[in-house]
């Protein structure tokens, strides 16, 4: 396989430049090289599984099962190593993009390697647990691939050329203006404004983050209260209401941003911890096989 990657350096650089220009992502890296490799691997496994006659029947304990199990376990460890690789800067042409592309496609091929390793014998035991965890990790990764392919567009549309800090800065600016504009208001009217100022734009739990719904939003409450209020000077109040509306819009943009980012990130909170759970269960699976050899 090594010959696949042995290219001359200058050529590699040139190819890399072409890729940069085309915005070639990890999915279509090198003309779907890793998709082809892992697709071929899956096909090989499925066909050979049907052709090879092991006695008494296919399971993890046949020679075929051992082979697939070994491939699968090594693959899992290598896939996990992406977490290490991505923290390590290299000048090698084994780029992070290449690595990620291989990670995605070989990770998907693990569905076939792992499932065919079981010989479709599943039960309530540590062996099937390891398989189930593997499938959860793969499915969460698949979700990750899908959101990485679709959500950045939405994120970009929502930002409208603003950076995250600029979004926050806009809210801060409205807060300052609100603070000033609300000075003439009566204490009854300043209380909701004060609550709106006291609201943390990053508040809310994971549910609020991912759904983007904040039913107890103080800014909206202040807007409602001041629209109905008759106590202070109408001119000053109108100015505050206008500012509150603007703050609400800025807040909505920030929250949409947080929501999309949350959706982009949430799978890693399943993917990474379950990977380590998988490695633990896999160790138990392998040790159990040898323990009760």
């Amino acid at each position: 396989m090594a010959s696949l990657f042995q290219r001359r350096r200058s050529k590699a650089t040139q190819v890399e430049r072409v890729r940069e220009r085309r915005h070639e992502g990890f999915l279509r890296y090198a003309g779907f090289r890793w998709a082809k490799i892992s697709g071929g691997l899956c096909l090989l496994i499925i066909v050979s599984y049907a052709l090879i006659d092991v006695t008494p029947r296919h399971n993890g304990g046949s020679w075929y099962g051992y082979t697939l199990g070994t491939i699968g376990a090594l693959l899992i460890l290598w896939l996990t190593a992406l977490g290490y690789r991505k923290r390590k800067m290299t000048s090698d042409h084994w780029s992070l993009k290449a690595w990620t592309s291989a990670h995605v496609y070989l990770g998907l091929s693990l569905i076939v390697v792992g499932t065919w390793h079981t010989g479709f014998q599943l039960g309530w035991n540590v062996h099937t647990l390891a398989w189930a965890l593997m499938m959860l990790v793969i499915l969460s990764g698949l979700y990750g691939v899908i959101v990485y392919a679709t959500l950045p567009q939405a994120l970009s549309n929502n930002r409208e050329q603003m950076t995250q800090m600029q979004m926050l800065e806009a809210i801060r600016a409205f807060d300052r203006q609100l603070h000033t504009a609300a000075q003439p208001l009566t204490p009854e009217d300043t209380a909701p404004v004060l609550a709106a100022l006291d609201e943390d734009p990053f508040a809310g739990g994971i549910v609020a983050r991912l759904s983007g719904r904040y039913p107890n939003c103080a800014t909206s409450a202040a807007l409602r209260a001041l629209t109905l209020s008759r106590s202070s000077d109408a001119g000053a109040r109108e100015k505050v209401v206008g500012l509150l509306k603007q703050k609400e819009a800025a807040l909505a943009r920030l929250r949409q941003h947080l929501k999309i980012r949350g959706l982009l990130e949430i799978w890693l909170y399943v993917h990474v911890p379950l990977t380590f759970a998988l490695i633990a269960a896999l160790s138990a699976h392998i040790i159990s096989v040898f323990f009760y050899w």
Binding site: G61, S62, L168, D175, E265, A277, S288, F291, Y292, W293
Partner: protein, 644 residues
């Protein structure tokens, strides 16, 4: 009395600039309203929040105006008197008012201490905008999940093993290592599912034969009479050369200390609940395919022929035959010209002819016995009660219908010669001739005078007295006649003439009850097939020394290999794994086969081979009257005894 308002501002370089301004008046007002002496632009402060005054220029009195108080040392107050010399800190909304005394003057320092709004607070961008703030850390989750997995599925099971290490039988209940159960145990071992240690005795040691024979005490010896005596080295050498896959498996086995040739190599477990599956052909063919050459190379020469598949690769049968009269039984490969001396003379062809004396005689007995227009195999050959084998032929039961040994009728009772006892036959015949003198002619009675010439040859005197005179020698003749050509015994038996000290002797009859000792043939399973379909040589056999056991060729008319392999054209194929005829355990019993499989094959033949069963049903009738049912022929010998 003067109050000084101090303001501190911080330059961009961090330098503090302090500005003091004297406040007019004795009463200072503090509030959000611009008209206050101290104007605090803080929404949390009332327009007219508090007044600050001092009566003696030392104690400062702070009083809240509009209900909303202020914080002093953590408590909310509406009025407070503060010694400016000691100093004090008050809190109005987001601002702090510090009271101090310098040069007989009261210094009031007002600073914003809270952020203007929550959003104005400094944030860590990387953390605030990601899920880090709202989710448990990934690293934490990884540790928690990983440790839980190891505790529940590694430490727990090992602990379960450890705690019952030296215990014979585990108590019922949950044991953590049941999470390691890779699949349901077979129904015979189902009770062991909570007791992993009953087989997996030592950790990291593959299940040993010792663990099996701890329970399987009796069966182990009987397990394989054919294989148990072979040394393990020979058994291992017999196996076929490993393919790529098996080499991988062997690699795993060698690397991880899993010796081969153990019971569990073949008797695999954890393959799902249910009974043991039928033994596949591969189980045998793995060794027996090309085995003789391998064993020869390995230094264990064998007389066994190779066998791989019944349809294509199976040695010719080697039935047990007696090659000479009175000789020893030997296993000989079935071929043309093989003879088997059983001591009888019996031409099958004469008896099975559709025309001729035998057929006519059989037809004449149709009312009395279950004969048809001619004799059939079933008329003389009877099967054992279990239907598997054919009983040896018995003279009284199977021949005497026609071959009567009757010689006299006394008052309606038929006297027969004793079969199997030649001396008794001689005695009976001698006695018959002695005890029954010739009937005295009437002419010889009375007192009337007789004319001469009555003694002449051919006259009554001559006949009578001649008879009386030769009577004992007539008995000798009768005995000789019975034992000689044309006599009742000679027809079927080999006779030895009297020698010195011996009378007439009959050669011993030895009928082989089972010709094929290594294979199992069940006549009952073939009852829909006509006898002559397999015993093809029988209708033309002229001598009883002809061996009529069917060969491989006849079996292959229907039976093909497990996978359907065949060398001849087969109409209705019956897939036949080795275990259909051969029993691994070689205890002489019936090979085991799952009931479903047995039934399926019989039905297949019944349904499809109509032509075969037709010949039989013509004789036995259709339906309930099966070929081998005991009712198919009157078994009684009464008729024969009555001189029939």
């Amino acid at each position: 009395m003067s109050f000084i308002l101090r303001r501190i501002s911080t330059t961009k370089t961090g330098k503090q600039i302090i500005r003091d301004a004297a406040l007019p008046g004795d009463m200072i007002t503090l509030g959000r309203d611009a008209g206050n002496t101290i104007h605090v632009a803080d929404l949390a402060v009332n327009p007219h929040h508090a007044t600050i005054s001092s009566a003696d220029g030392r104690t400062v009195r702070v009083a809240a105006q509009e209900g909303l108080g202020f914080d002093l040392n953590g408590r909310t107050e509406t009025v407070a008197n503060i010694d400016s010399g000691a100093g004090g800190e008050l809190r109005f909304g987001g601002h702090r008012l510090t009271i101090a005394r310098e040069d007989e003057k009261i210094i009031l320092l007002v600073e914003r201490i809270d952020e203007l709004s929550q959003s104005s607070k400094d944030v860590d961008e990387a953390k605030a905008f990601s899920l880090q703030g709202v989710m448990l850390g990934k690293r934490m989750g990884a540790w928690v999940f990983g440790v839980l997995m190891l505790l529940a599925f590694l430490i727990g099971p090992i602990w379960a093993w450890y705690s019952y290490k030296n215990v014979n039988e585990r108590p019922d209940g949950y044991h953590a290592d049941s999470a390691w159960l890779s699949g349901p145990l077979s129904s015979a071992h189902a009770s062991l599912k909570n007791d992993c240690q009953s087989c997996h005795v030592e950790p990291f040691v593959a299940v040993t034969d010792k663990a099996c024979v701890n329970c399987h005490t009796g069966e182990h010896k009987a397990m394989s009479m054919a294989h148990a005596n072979a040394p393990t080295a020979m058994l291992l050498a017999a196996r076929h050369p490993p393919g790529a896959g098996e080499r991988i498996l062997k690699g795993f086995a060698d690397t991880f200390n899993k010796p081969q040739g153990r019971c569990v190599d073949c008797h695999t477990e954890h393959e799902g609940a249910g009974p043991m599956p039928a033994t596949p052909q591969k189980f045998c063919a793995d060794c027996h395919d090309g085995m003789s050459a391998r064993l020869k190379t390995a230094g264990h020469p064998t007389a066994l022929a190779d066998a791989a598949d019944f349809g294509t690769s199976h040695p010719e049968f080697r039935p047990l035959v007696r090659p000479g009269p009175g000789g020893k039984l030997v296993r000989t490969t079935l071929a043309k010209g093989i003879v088997d001396y059983n001591g009888l003379k019996f031409p099958h062809d004469v008896h099975l002819q559709a025309t001729g004396g035998v057929a006519r005689m059989a037809a004449s007995f149709r009312g009395r016995y279950d004969f048809g227009k001619k004799l059939e195999c079933e008329n003389c050959h009877r099967v054992e009660a279990d239907g598997v084998r054919v009983k040896p032929v018995e003279m009284e039961r199977d021949c005497a219908m026609c071959h009567s040994l009757a010689f006299e009728t006394v008052g309606g009772v038929t006297r027969t010669l004793r079969h199997g006892e030649p001396d008794q036959v001689v005695a009976d015949l001698t006695a018959y001739y002695r005890s029954a003198p010739p009937a005295r002619p009437l002419q010889l009675g009375g007192m009337q005078r007789r004319r001469p010439g009555a003694y002449a040859e051919g006259q009554v005197y001559n006949i009578y007295f001649n008879e009386v005179a030769v009577r004992p020698s007539r008995a000798q003749d009768a005995v000789r006649a019975v034992f000689s050509k044309g006599g009742a015994c000679y027809d079927c038996h080999t006779i030895f003439a009297p020698q010195a000290g011996n009378g007439w002797r009959v050669a011993a009859v030895d009928q082989t009850p089972r010709y094929l000792q290594k294979g199992w043939f069940d006549h009952d399973a073939h009852k829909e097939t006509a006898c002559a379909d397999c015993h093809t040589a029988a209708p033309a056999s002229k001598a009883s020394t002809d061996l009529l056991v069917p060969g491989l060729r006849q079996c292959r008319d229907c039976h093909v290999g497990e996978g359907g392999a065949r060398v001849v054209k087969v109409e209705t194929a019956t897939e036949s794994p080795c275990a259909m005829c051969h029993e691994y355990h070689s205890d002489g019993g019936k090979p085991w086969m799952p009931p479903r499989q047995r039934k399926k094959n019989t039905v297949a033949i019944t349904n499809k081979r109509l032509d075969a069963s037709q010949g039989v049903s013509m004789i036995t009738g259709t339906g309930g009257r099966g070929l081998y049912e005991v009712t198919w022929r009157t078994p009684s010998l009464h008729a024969a005894r009555q001189g029939g």
